[in-house]
């Protein structure tokens, strides 16, 4: 590897490029790329007609609609409250702030199955919040609403942690200037400060959305998993696998993968756009 043509890498006195890159590429290929290629090859071997037949089945479409719909709703809610939480954590000093700041990462640390059974216990008809909802005449657990709540839990840190560092870097000078020029506080916040944060907020939204679409562990307990009502796409993949319908599982996995890649592309584009925008400030 060290004999790579010099056009591929710039010369350096530091050794170990071949070993480090070789190990990285070998691990990446064996663990990530080859298995993913196996999925794509399998999907390609199914044939377009059979592929579309599974992809357009009403149960598949309902599951995809549910996964993307609930993930979208959760990401929107997380964008609003995540921005508010980031604002409170960056701008205000109050007792317990550091603890709250650390606790925002709880969904990263808490296993999804643990969160799933805990939220089911809360929102089931006999749980503390579920009972209140029941008495008011609607159900939370075992409906798309319950799924959305689970996805809010999972996605929240993505928004807060993307927005927080950007908000910290906004200069107070521009706020003083706006105030001196006669802008009200609300106008200063919404038209001067927040526009700096919107690119990061969009990135956080996209990350939370992407995570929500693929989420499994925290959702399956609270979802109730009724076909075409509260059955998410990842669960449908698992069901197809358990029925040894590898073709069906492959088709749904491929559809989800393609959409995930599209979103990854959008996230990267948003990040470079945000970086370019900040370079200009």
């Amino acid at each position: 590897m060290d004999s790579l043509p010099s056009s591929l890498r710039q010369p350096s006195v530091i050794p170990g490029f071949g070993l480090a890159l070789g190990l990285t590429l070998a691990a990446l290929s064996l663990i990530v790329l080859i298995p993913l290629a196996a999925l794509v090859l399998r999907a390609a071997s199914i044939g377009p007609q059979a592929f579309l037949e599974v992809a357009l089945e009403s149960r598949t479409l309902a599951a995809l609609r549910l996964s993307f719909g609930t993930a979208l709703a959760a990401a929107v809610i997380n964008s609003v409250f995540g921005l508010l939480i980031a604002w409170v954590l960056v701008r205000y000093r109050f007792p317990g702030r550091r603890i709250i700041d650390s606790a925002v990462d709880l969904p990263f640390a808490l296993p999804t199955a643990v969160a799933g059974i805990a939220m089911t216990a809360i929102y089931a008809p006999n749980g503390p919040i579920g009972a209140i909802a029941q008495s008011m005449g609607f159900k939370v657990a075992y409906t798309p609403v319950g799924i959305t709540i689970a996805l809010i839990f999972i996605g929240l840190p993505f928004v807060v942690r993307t927005v927080q560092p950007v908000l910290e870097e906004v200069e107070q000078d521009i706020e003083e200037a706006a105030a001196l020029l006669g802008a009200s506080r609300a106008r200063t916040v919404f038209q001067v400060v927040l526009p700096h944060v919107y690119p990061a907020l969009l990135t956080g939204f996209a990350l939370a959305f992407a995570r929500g679409v693929g989420e499994y562990g925290s959702v399956i307990f609270i979802a109730g998993n009724i076909p075409e009502v509260s059955e998410i796409a990842p669960l449908l993949i698992v069901i197809k696998l358990e029925e040894f319908d590898y073709g069906g599982a492959t088709v749904i996995a491929t559809v989800m993968l393609v959409i995930s890649f599209a979103m990854l592309f959008v996230i990267n584009a948003l990040q470079s756009w945000s970086r370019a925008k900040h370079g200009n400030v």
């Binding site: 006195v13 050794p15 939220m119 562990g217 995930s260």
Partner: protein
Amino acid sequence: MAMSDRLLPLSHAPKRATSETLLTRILLIGIAGLFLGTILFLPLLTVFVEATRKGWTPILESFQDPDTRSAIRLTLLVAAIAVPVNAVIGLAASWAIAKFEFRGKNLLLTLIDLPFSISPVISGVVYVLLFGAHGWLGPWLSSHGIEIIFAVPGIVLATILVTFPFVARELIPLMQSQGTSEEEAALTLGASGWYTFFRVMLPNVKWALLYGVLLCNARAMGEFGAVSVVSGHIRGLTNTMPLQIEILYNEYNFVGAFAVAALLAALALLTLVAKSALEWMFAGELAACRRH
């Protein structure tokens, strides 16, 4: 001066134009607290409340269950393999990416991050399609007596895939910001490559490495979707702690399920404490990781 200060009524205290009124601040903090309380703290609290609902004896009994014990052992084993593997790969990847300039670097970065944007279930499915009984290599493997799917190797592989980016993405931004001058100085003074790696580079990134390892370990022990697909749920053999929670829960053994859940939640809290401690003590040496 002192007089006039005292005469000024409180409401005349100069109002800062770059902050919100006290009422707005209290309101916003209240909304944030209420939201976090409902969404984050209530589930955490529920885990411990449900686990101790019938006192401590049933919890201790549920940890006597041989299936639960074997699930704890398997989870520890899987993390003990997956985390060091990812630490080594992460160090290699960050050495290559941060210390050298080469073509295709951005593509490599994107590919390393790829597992973050794939559903965990799909991360399991790809291995079933590759190594499963009806998979590409399945028949060959079974004729040679090698079991990967519905066995421990599959669980380890799926866990490594899901946690693949954790260490690398903590190290790469930090090592990029540190540059290469210290390594170049060491090499110029006659240090060997390995000496430079272990004695110059590694001490500079040790806290970031620990930070990445912590997050990687938390995810490895808690992974559910990917592991669930490849495990086959064989009691006492291929159930990790999160899968054992699912089984106990579906059998309506809520105390047992929440007892295992409480153990994992305690581990999550420990992870958070250690992570925050690292952030507070070594903010400078981690600064890069909060800015990606």
